[in-house]
């Protein structure tokens, strides 16, 4: 839902980042207001996943230029856990398995860390069990998964549901979902998308990172951004995604080539 007067939650300005020695993001600009759902699309290697990792503060990525503010404050100077506590959530494309660490305990510690930040009281084991059982319904997950180790031995679909369960518990203001649709069969996709729709409201925002239309059939975005070579090449409404679906990404390449040619011609301007 687009409301021009809604508060800005996330403001990304000229963001550049690299991993090891490789520059990946080369000037990303994006404004996200409360109530909005954004889809970021693009080919593999366009920088979509890097953008999500940088927003969550992954140590392997270094920001070399630009800024990211979250509700007016500099997000980039915060540790990953602080970002999570103030309401930035990353749903991983490949959630890691953590053998030995109980999923239930993990969810409880994480939820309480977020609640402390929000000024809510800490939930004891019993109160938390009640909460988690209620939220399990959002993703139609079997409570048996609570007794297992974090993501250990989960199927691809179960891992993604566990991600959305965490989102349901942590109550983020900005949820970044990185390729949440990858590896899901049609039923799992429906459940996951249903969860995201249920959790979206006028106060929070969602950033969907995907390269398929099929997730957007289930979750209607307010904005669609096309990423290529580390920046956002074009922004439009949901019809842009349909256009991509029909025409493929070739026109993106052409547009990009044209842009790069223009830049080569005027090196002085670029510098």
């Amino acid at each position: 839902m687009i409301r021009p007067d809604a508060p800005v939650l996330l403001e990304i300005r000229d963001l550049e980042a690299r991993v090891e020695d490789k520059a990946i993001l080369k000037g990303v600009n994006l404004t996200v207001r409360a109530g909005e759902i954004h889809a970021v699309m693009g080919r593999n290697g366009s920088g979509k996943s890097t953008l999500s990792k940088v927003l969550a503060g992954h140590p392997a990525y270094t920001v070399t230029a630009g800024s990211v503010t979250y509700r007016g404050d500099n997000l980039l100077e915060l540790d990953p856990e602080q970002r999570a506590r103030i309401g930035v959530f990353l749903g991983f494309q490949y959630p890691v398995e953590i053998p030995g660490v109980s999923n239930l305990e993990f969810l409880r510690v994480a939820t309480n860390a977020r609640r402390a930040e929000q000024g809510h009281e800490e939930l004891d084991t019993f109160a938390f069990e009640d909460l988690v059982r209620e939220r399990l319904q959002v993703v139609q997950m079997d409570p048996a998964f609570l007794e297992r180790s974090v993501n250990e031995g989960f199927s691809g679909g179960e891992k993604k549901r566990n991600e959305i369960l965490q989102m349901a518990l942590l109550d983020p203001l900005v949820a970044i979902l990185d390729e949440t649709d990858s590896g899901l069969d049609i039923d799992a996709l429906r459940i996951v998308a249903g969860g995201v729709n249920q959790l979206a409201n006028a106060d929070n925002a969602t950033l969907l990172i995907t390269h398929y239309q099929r997730l957007l059939d289930a979750i209607t975005p307010d904005y669609v951004h096309v990423m290529a070579a580390g920046r956002i090449l074009r922004t439009g409404g949901k019809e842009l995604a349909l256009e991509l679906e029909q025409r493929g990404y070739d026109w993106v390449d052409q547009e990009l080539a044209a842009l790069e040619a223009a830049q080569t011609r005027t090196p002085a301007e670029v510098a």
Binding site: A56, A84, I98, G100, V101
Partner: protein, 480 residues
């Protein structure tokens, strides 16, 4: 900030039990000789058979060589530079706690082991050993009502000499190994537990060992006997002050389980480990062995080893009875310059005997952590089974993790299975937990305790939390 270095820093934190109790102590002169052995025996007013036992062990010890096969390095120990007997100056053991020197009670209070009637733990009976002497045992009377004997071994020698004579040295013979021989010659105090036929011990039993003197060796001796159908859960805890010299600790623990008996023996070992340069700390050379003599008997060892400069320890089970069960669950954490060579022996003699080994080693700093185990299936152990799992977690690239599992089988109708793996705390796992709002320290600690979960689950409930806390404590510290 979530670099391996930061993880390494986390494992370093000051030792919390390093204080010394200022109390007058009676010590004998340094050194070991036949006269010293006789002196110890006479101080304890022992019967002749025990003096004989000690002297035989001493003579055997003189003929033996200190073992050098473990992956441990330490300067030679001067056995003449050790005091073999030290006791707080209060005469004999007091009938009532009120008469015990308040300084001693205070010491144990400080260690989290309150002994006084008002404060003592409600479901755990404690035998508190200070240097060479047991100073108090709680709940003795209540246990006696059930026929359970729980007292210091010195007391048992006086009150129940026939039991001592019958069982002492029958599981670990005095010439078993160098350190066992030394212990048999000079052992000072320790606990004795006897659970008569058919009795399920009504509460947890626990011995808390405290080394206080700087130049004293500690040589406790523990003997636990569970008669037919009896069962007991026993816990041992240990701490020592921080000295910049090394102290020798050579204990012997013997367990005997008759038909259908079960003994669960848990240890949370937190002796002083020395400083980050490897100065000081306890040399811990311990022989622990249980004999499942009876059919369907069961002995289970659980250990959480976090302290000592040197650990040389292999709690073992001799599975003689048919269908007997042996278990070994171990967490060994080494940091700084600590060295641990620890593991178990499962000797399968009886048919259908079963054993399980779960060992988790965590090495950080410049430490060395070795698992050394033996699984032996004898020719008569038809249908025996063993399963072993040995995992190592490495923190930093200066620490060593070694695995030496010896397997011998002579019985085709038996199966042995051993698995081992190594892991580290990966950057991706840390980031995942952090991105859910969990702080770096807590994330590391969660993963370490997750790694140890299978072992902690075996500890008696009261102590599982304790062990988790201890590990978390060892992991506490400045971040990055």
């Amino acid at each position: 900030m979530s670099s391996p270095q930061a993880v390494g820093d986390l494992v370093s934190q000051p030792y919390k039990y390093g204080f010394v109790t200022d109390i007058e102590t009676e010590k004998i002169a340094k050194g070991l000789s036949e006269d010293v052995v006789r002196l110890i025996s006479s101080k304890k007013e022992e019967p002749a058979f025990l003096l004989e036992f000690r002297l035989r062990a001493y003579r055997q010890w003189l003929q033996m060589r200190e073992p050098d096969w473990a992956a441990l390095g330490y300067p030679p120990i001067d056995y003449q530079d050790v005091i073999y007997y030290a006791a707080p100056k209060q005469q004999a053991k007091k009938a009532s706690l009120d008469e015990v020197d308040p300084k001693l009670l205070e010491t144990f209070d400080k260690l989290g082991i309150p002994l006084s009637e008002q404060k003592r733990l409600s479901n755990v009976a404690v035998d508190a050993v200070f240097d060479s002497v047991s100073i108090a045992t709680t709940y003795k009377e209540k246990l006696a009502e059930h026929g359970v004997i729980f007292c210091s071994i010195s007391e048992a020698v006086k009150e129940h000499p026939e039991l001592i004579e019958r069982y002492l040295g029958t599981v670990v013979p005095s010439n078993d190994n160098y350190f066992a021989a030394l212990n048999s010659a000079v052992f000072s105090d320790g606990s004795f537990v006897f659970i008569p036929k058919g009795v399920e011990c009504p509460m947890e039993l626990s011995t808390y060992f405290r080394i206080n003197s700087g130049d004293t060796g500690q040589f406790e001796r523990t003997l636990i006997v569970a008669e037919e159908g009896a069962s007991v859960s026993y816990l041992e805890g240990c701490t020592a002050p921080m000295f910049d010299t090394n102290q020798l600790h050579a204990a012997v623990v013997e367990l005997v389980a008759l038909d259908d008996a079960a003994i669960k023996y848990s240890t949370v070992q937190n002796w002083y480990a020395g400083d980050e340069h490897g100065v000081g700390g306890i040399y811990n050379f311990v022989t622990k062995r249980g004999q499942c003599r009876g059919d369907r008997s069961k002995i289970s060892w659980t250990q959480v080893e976090t302290g000592s400069a040197i650990t040389w320890k292999y709690p073992s089970c001799v599975l003689q009875g048919a269908d007997s069960v042996g278990e070994f669950y171990s967490v060994a954490l080494t940091n700084n310059r600590q060295q641990a060579d620890t593991g178990t022996k499962m000797i399968h003699v009886g048919p259908r005997s079963r054993s399980t080994i779960v060992s988790k080693g965590i090495s950080a700093g410049h430490s060395a952590n070795s698992y050394r185990g033996l699984v032996q299936i004898g020719p008569k152990a038809v249908g025996a089974r063993n399963y072993s799992q040995c995992d190592s977690m490495l923190i930093g690239d200066q620490a060593a993790a070694n695995t030496y599992p010896y397997i011998r089988s002579q019985q085709p109708q038996a199966s042995v299975e051993h698995e081992a793996s190594t892991c580290r705390i990966s950057e991706d796992q840390l980031f995942y937990l952090q991105s859910r709002g969990i702080g770096f320290e807590e994330a590391v600690s969660m993963m370490v305790s997750g790694f140890c979960r299978d072992v902690f689950n075996q500890l008696p409930m009261e102590f599982a939390a304790e062990a988790d806390k201890l590990l978390a404590l060892k992991l506490e510290g400045s971040v990055g």
